[in-house]
Symmetry: none
Subunit: 200 residues, 4 copies
DNA sequence: CATGAATGAGATTTCATTCAT
DNA sequence: GATGAATGAAATCTCATTCAT
């Protein structure tokens, strides 16, 4: 059945992510995935004919909500304020990640998959897309006179994106022993304050 | 002779780094290292009895100047200003990296080596040490009334460290097609301006 | 299928024994076992995930009938005479070995596997168990006034067990050019006569 | 210098024996021997051009006193009694072994070296020689009316030789936790009593 | 007299993948 | 819709041995 097949594929993908998260990229073998799912190795290959297809699906899963989050943020930027839009964008990710810490293992996808061209390319696209999204939201905020206009949009985007990535890494390295969401949102608020026009 | 042996070990380490950089962590095999150096595989094992020892040496190499840079920065913080100290700290890394882009592959060391406990631990230590160094420099700057005191030192350190990491990643993903040094120093200047007390 | 898998494992074990027998312990490589069975090396590892597991199975095979032979001997000791029991015990082994000379290579298992702790331990257990079995049979014979009671049971057991081992070694070294069974049984008869009470 | 060279060779041989004894035949590598002696691997090869030459020397060392012991036993058989000769023969070995337990690892030489033709042959020769020596001593004792004449000399020799081997193995397996000498001599006495003519 | 440097061959083991059922 | 059986290729690592110095 279509549905169950999709379901099985999803399980394989989730297991792969768990493995990357728990034991690192080198620990992900078809054998180990099969073992975890109580399946045979050959069954895995019914769903994904190449191991790299699993990783491609992992990257799709990693970026599943990217478009949605961006679109909704854009709408927010129109309906409410562009500052809220940026905050909403960040919050979407960190709320999601807080409930699914394993997925943060993929923040480093580009380096993990380096040298495997299809995967490297896809990881790169995701990275650059997200950066572009943030840049666009900041551009709007600058246009709306919310964020300072005398600083290059690109650099501001780099800062925000870096903070996001950097805190995810720290969260992982520190074994998830603080609230990614609170820390990130607090930091972004401070950053926004520093780079916004004073409202006095 | 001592020297030549050290030299050979260094070559192996440099080759391993080049391989991680060029083709990703999974491409680093003792065979490939040997091939590149025109040696036999068994010779590699005369210098490093376990493959992971090569990676451990890679991590040492990656963090080789960490203490020096930090110490010199501290001195700067005393002799000249604490702002200069921070700038010097960042500049040391990005100048070095600009001339040795391959080494930036290791910014992600923690995730690359996840699950290989000795390596994971070492990578973690390097990450946290650097973060602590930055935090110390910022603390001094706050004490000296240079950086705003009403913001948590930790968060400011996270920002700076994240910017450093984030730009390295972007540099790699964009194929080194901009000057890491200029971009980073520019960004750090802007950041410092935003989080310093206005001098008017 | 269960059966065929068990069968395959058995074949691997038998091949390993043949190799120890023919060319010595150092000649047993997974490659050679595979070659003999017309399999690939990786297939061997589907059945035994570590090479030492093959050797463990070899030891199991070597001691497969130990309990049965001992139990049956004990019954004999009760039903018929305790002298018959001892003779039956020895005859069981030498009859079996006469038809399967290769297995005698394992009489030396302890020394062959020395230093490989799981194997060394198992080999030791088999040795001591057999010795204990013989001792028990002799004890019964002494109790039944068949074997002289003024000699330590342990020493008598050592003698019988040693004769068994010693003749196996001689048989191997002399290239199986005499009947292990006849020679051993003859010797044991003489030994029993010498250490039994004279019936006159 | 000749002397020192002989001395070094001896050390290599002794180290090889210690290794067989402690960690088993598979643990004997030129590397490990060199390590133990604080030499380089290449130096080992100055003294023994092939590794198997070391093992050959080991076998020579193992059988070093065989001729002497046999010759002296023969003389004893002439001067004193043939019973004393047999006891002297056994005692020579077990006294030596008691002070040098490591050497007993080679009792199994034939199986350890099986498949390495020069070594296998040499081990076999030693085994058969010793057996022949014992047989000769027993033959003399039978001729002298000390040991029963109605039993095949060969079988009696097998018994004695087996007891010797069997107790060495037991001694090893039981971790040298009894006196090989006392146990063996006691057993041989009992055996002699059983197979000698009653002196009444 | 000893050693450092190097290596080819081979051992064990893992892995992704195929195929017949 | 799933699995058991099998495998070639490659990875890490060990070993005996050579050679120049």
């Amino acid at each position: 059945m279509e549905l169950s097949s999709v379901h099985k594929k999803a399980n394989i993908v989730l297991t792969a992510i768990d493995l990357i998260h728990e034991f690192g990229i080198h620990s992900v073998s078809t054998k180990e995935i099969a073992r975890r799912l109580g399946l045979s190795e050959s069954t895995i290959f019914k769903y994904f004919s190449k191991k790299n297809h699993i990783f491609l699906a992992v990257l799709e899963h990693f970026s599943l909500y990217d478009q949605d989050i961006f679109r909704t943020s854009l709408e927010k930027a129109k309906k409410s304020t562009s500052r809220e839009a940026i905050l909403f964008y960040m919050d979407s990710y960190v709320s999601y990640y807080e409930n699914y810490p394993q997925i943060t293992a993929l923040i480093q996808a580009y380096e993990l998959f380096r040298g495997i061209s299809e995967l490297e390319t896809r990881a790169k696209d995701i990275f650059l897309n997200r950066l572009a999204h943030i840049q666009e939201l900041i551009r709007i905020a600058q246009e709306a006179n919310v964020i300072k206009q005398d600083i290059s949009t690109e650099i501001l985007a780099d800062m925000v994106h870096s903070i996001f990535i950097g805190l995810c890494l720290k969260w992982r390295i520190k074994n998830f022993n603080f609230s990614l969401r609170k820390e990130t949102m607090h930091t972004i608020h401070l950053w926004l304050d520093a780079f916004s026009y004073k409202k006095d």
